[in-house]
Point group: C2
Chain length 335, copies 2
DNA sequence: ATGAAAGCGCTAACAG
DNA sequence: CTGTTAGCGCTTTCAT
């Protein structure tokens, strides 16, 4: 049933080495030979056995993508971008979900399945700085996400502080000054929430707008309902505000809903900007202004770095790449 | 660097066959030998080389999941379920997106990457009945989704007609009689839209409620904005209705938004039910009643069938499995 | 219950 | 420019 190199070689009247050379695009082959081989390959429907190639070459041609959860639109879209980038490099992508859980992240790293990959893209969430020293990556790894997490790997991240600052400045430019920071986490410093809050503060300071504790609200775990609840509580408490910087788009959707229910207009009464620029932001009503954190750039860069490491640059110093972000202006801020 | 069976065998003072037996859980091994081997495995941190195993055994231990688009929450969640089910069987999952496009579906099937899988789960969208005769699946395939698409493979699908009928009946039981079918497609018969419309008709007929053309509205491509637009047009046209059966949840979210904007209460003025039961249905406001089409059952069954085929039941007749659905009642229908 | 040895299909030295 | 050949690490007869 399965056709091997040997059979192709026999059919083409050459040695298997020549067939291998043709298949792998080796340069110095006479046109006649190449044609004969290509014909035999086509006639027999030859397809290389990837396990054999992998055993011999030490490469599988696959990379692993380890993320918290595909249910989260940000990660689903990131996975899509990674798959697109990987296919440019001829790499297959297999995905592992961790639930953002420390124990599961460790379990996935230790899993024998990971050895099917030449390298992994690992979006760390549960592991923390303290684990950095202990954790052993089973294969070449590129880290995704905002944590620093030691230096044992290349790292691709987003400009959380700068993007958050720009988001806040965008609202300030609209003439808003009572801006809610929706999704802040009081005790977090180095995670997304901490960094985005820092950008928020910087923008306020630069504009000379006082920072008000009552406008900084927690809304864990950043689901739609959390955004709605938080905004409802603000309204109930009589806290005045004219803009919301939501730390992710999902929170923003919830906030918009709560504002609508309260009869407030977006952006007339309250302008809103989100973060992530998920697909749905284009389709919400009103369409949501958001920060595109550079998802495609993150995916492409991460895959490129990983492919390069796999290709052999193991001596290069580790790289930290911060993707460029941009504000995507839509109806929710008057665009 | 990499530890092989040979080294483990040397360390344990046995042959590589014995080590292999221990690792693969072969029965007849003395306790002392097993312990010695396990100790050596642990000490040396041995991990099997999956390419070598694959070459020898003819199995890679991976399956492919071919779907239209991870951006679509239904497929993102399906992928999550598939990965969970696959990991029960010790299988890795790699994902390929097709964009639901016929050409890309063919390209993916022909891709050498597919040969990295022992089998694939293929959610067909672009290929149609006419392709059924021509298409060659590169490996064992289980089809996902509502199309019949020939009989050259096992097939796992959902009860579209029955579920749609139940959804409509649920609205009728609430006392509603002017029920919008949101997302119908006039000329489609065998796709989801056609089947769901059929269930809708059946429910109306059974209840003696007249079928009204003006309540059946197209809203392609089933995005949130399409649902909102369609509902707005209905309202503008003065078409009275007291319920909406949305053919997917995203349409339902859009519809709810448009109703809210128009000052109509859900479910007071208009009850709404969706289809898919995506995660977001729990978090929308109001929370959306929806049809769970049996996503987990679909994933588990498909993986189980595929694993069985891979395991060797190639002579078994092809199976058609229709997953059980259920209505998940939430606020949007007064739950 | 354990060992010896063949060979899965491919790539890459090394020859010629 | 092309052919010969030696393994990659594992599973699996076939012996013992």
């Amino acid at each position: 049933m399965t056709v091997t190199l040997r059979e192709v070689a026999a059919a083409a009247g050459v040695s298997i080495k020549t067939v291998s050379n043709v298949i792998n695009g080796y340069a110095h082959i006479s046109a006649r030979t190449r044609e004969a081989v290509e014909k035999a390959v086509a006639d027999l429907g030859y397809q290389p056995n990837l396990s054999a190639r992998g055993l011999r070459s030490g490469r599988t041609g696959a990379i692993g993508l380890v993320i918290p959860d595909l249910k989260n639109p940000y990660f689903a879209e990131l996975a899509g971008s990674v798959m697109r980038a990987a296919s440019q490099h001829g790499l297959a992508v297999f995905v592992e979900q961790t639930g953002g859980d420390r124990a599961q992240e460790l379990a996935v790293l230790a899993s024998p399945r990971m050895r099917m990959a030449d390298g992994i893209l690992f979006s760390v969430t549960g592991l923390d700085q303290a684990d950095a020293a202990t954790v052993a990556f089973p294969v070449t790894t590129v880290l995704l996400g905002e944590r620093i997490f030691g230096a044992g790997a290349d790292h691709v991240t987003m400009k959380n502080v700068e993007a958050a600052r720009a988001a806040t400045e965008h609202l300030i430019e609209l003439g808003r000054s009572r801006i809610v920071a929706l999704g802040a986490r009081p005790h977090e410093v180095s995670g997304s929430a901490g960094l985005r809050l820092r950008g928020y503060r910087e923008a306020l300071e630069a504009a000379g707008i006082p920072f008000r504790d009552e406008l900084v609200v927690d809304a864990t775990p950043w689901h739609r309902a959390d955004g709605a609840r938080a905004v409802r509580e603000l309204l109930a408490a009589g806290t005045g505000f004219d803009a919301v910087f939501a730390f992710n788009d999902t929170l923003a959707f919830g906030a918009m809903r709560a504002l609508g229910d309260a009869g407030l207009g977006v952006p007339r009464d309250v302008a809103i900007i989100g973060f992530d620029d998920v697909d749905e932001a284009r389709y919400s009503m009103p369409a949501l202004t958001s920060i595109d954190p550079g998802r495609d750039e993150i995916a492409e860069t991460a895959v490129r770095l990983l492919a390069a490491r796999i290709g052999g640059d193991s001596t290069e110093p580790f790289v930290l790449h911060e993707a460029a972000f941009r504000i995507v202006t839509r109806e929710s801020t008057g665009g």
